[in-house]
């Protein structure tokens, strides 16, 4: 009964609300037994290829490889939750935490972030090949999360250009200090008035109770700093960050 009430119709077709649909995807990614697992040979922060039953392909990052892996995998999931809170579930791939067998310590479980792989992505396209609205959304997303590494970490999802933007690699996001931000998107729009759609998304995020949703994923000081940034953006209505 409850589920039926949450359904809605579009063009006469019953569809699940996005939040319900992505929750189902999250549960699948957390619980489905992988069909195959592969590990990239090169890279300081190794990525795993996970193929799930039914043909869903995901990439996974382990907590027990690379520096500060335990924090990084939580931050990957936190970024997805922020995108979800903003209503921008097309901007970041659905990401969950789950246990799988370690790639470096056989018969030992470790935590992985597991994220859906984007289809046939264009690696790191120029901003001129992206939609203006996506550049704004990325700029606001990076301001909220204080992305410290947005120099190459984005994809273009075909068809295009202009491509749909997908943001990846958020292990080093959620800095506590605004001055840590390093984002070409933020730099592109810094100091400009926030469009109405961006402000509405930020309101949605604030109303989504991010402190509860993110409490197990972010350290308290990082979470507090993020809330200050959201309030700052909404009160100034300018793409800027509070000092220092």
């Amino acid at each position: 009964m409850g589920r039926r009430q949450r359904m809605r119709k579009r063009a006469g077709v019953v569809v699940l609300p996005t939040a319900t649909a992505t929750s189902g995807l999250e549960a699948y990614l957390q619980l489905a037994e992988p069909t195959t697992r592969h590990r990239g040979v090169h890279g300081a922060h190794p990525s795993y290829r996970i193929l799930f039953p039914g043909g869903v392909l995901a990439l996974a990052k382990p907590a027990d490889e690379g520096g500060d892996g335990e924090r990084r995998v939580r931050h990957e999931v936190a970024a997805w939750k922020v995108a979800q809170g903003l209503g921008w579930t097309d901007l970041v791939g659905t990401t969950v935490l789950r246990q799988m067998e370690s790639g470096v310590a056989p018969s030992t479980a470790t935590t992985f972030s597991v994220q859906v792989v984007w289809p046939a992505p264009i690696d790191n396209p120029d901003l001129s090949q992206l939609r203006d609205t996506d550049i704004w959304r990325a700029a606001a997303f990076d301001a909220v999360t204080v992305s410290t590494d947005r120099s190459h970490n984005w994809l273009g999802v075909p068809p295009g250009p202009p491509y749909q933007l997908a943001l990846v690699d958020h292990g080093d996001a959620f800095a506590t200090t605004s001055s840590s931000i390093s984002s070409v998107f933020f730099s592109e729009r810094q100091g400009q008035p926030l469009p109405d759609a961006i402000r509405q998304a930020l309101e949605l995020l604030r109303e989504s109770d991010p402190q509860r949703v993110l409490s197990s994923l972010l350290e308290q000081d990082r979470l507090d700093a993020m809330m200050v940034r959201i309030d700052h953006l909404l009160s100034t209505r300018i793409l800027s960050l509070p000092g220092p």
């Binding site: 090169h42 990525s47 120099s151």
Partner: protein, 107 residues
């Protein structure tokens, strides 16, 4: 001559595929690639440093830029190798490195 390789993680194909090799010749960065202009545009952009408003420019300081690029390009989709001499390149001539298959247990 030493160079770095730029690899794409091609998840559907379960391979890492080289898309470019970068090296310094004279005072500039050269690119070997099947699409040199595409990858020049994507890779040779100034990289912000930890100092606000300051970036490492590939034309001003090629060595520092490539060092920063190696540190930054360790993502889910794009990966840079460390410096290595061409004769000891870990990437085969085909440019394709199959991902290693592991057990699929989730525990």
């Amino acid at each position: 001559m030493a160079h770095i390789d730029i690899l794409v993680n091609d998840y559907p194909a379960a391979i890492q595929r080289r898309v470019a090799s970068l090296y310094i010749q004279g005072d500039r960065i050269e690119i070997e690639s099947e699409e040199p202009e595409v990858w020049r545009d994507r890779l040779l952009r100034p990289i912000p440093t930890e100092e606000p408003g300051v970036a490492t420019d590939p034309d001003d300081n090629p060595e520092a830029f490539l060092k920063a690029l190696i540190a930054r390009l360790q993502g889910s989709y794009l990966v840079a190798t460390d410096w290595h001499p061409r004769r000891a390149c870990p990437i085969p001539e085909s440019g394709v490195v199959p991902m290693d298959e592991l057990s699929s247990r989730s525990i």
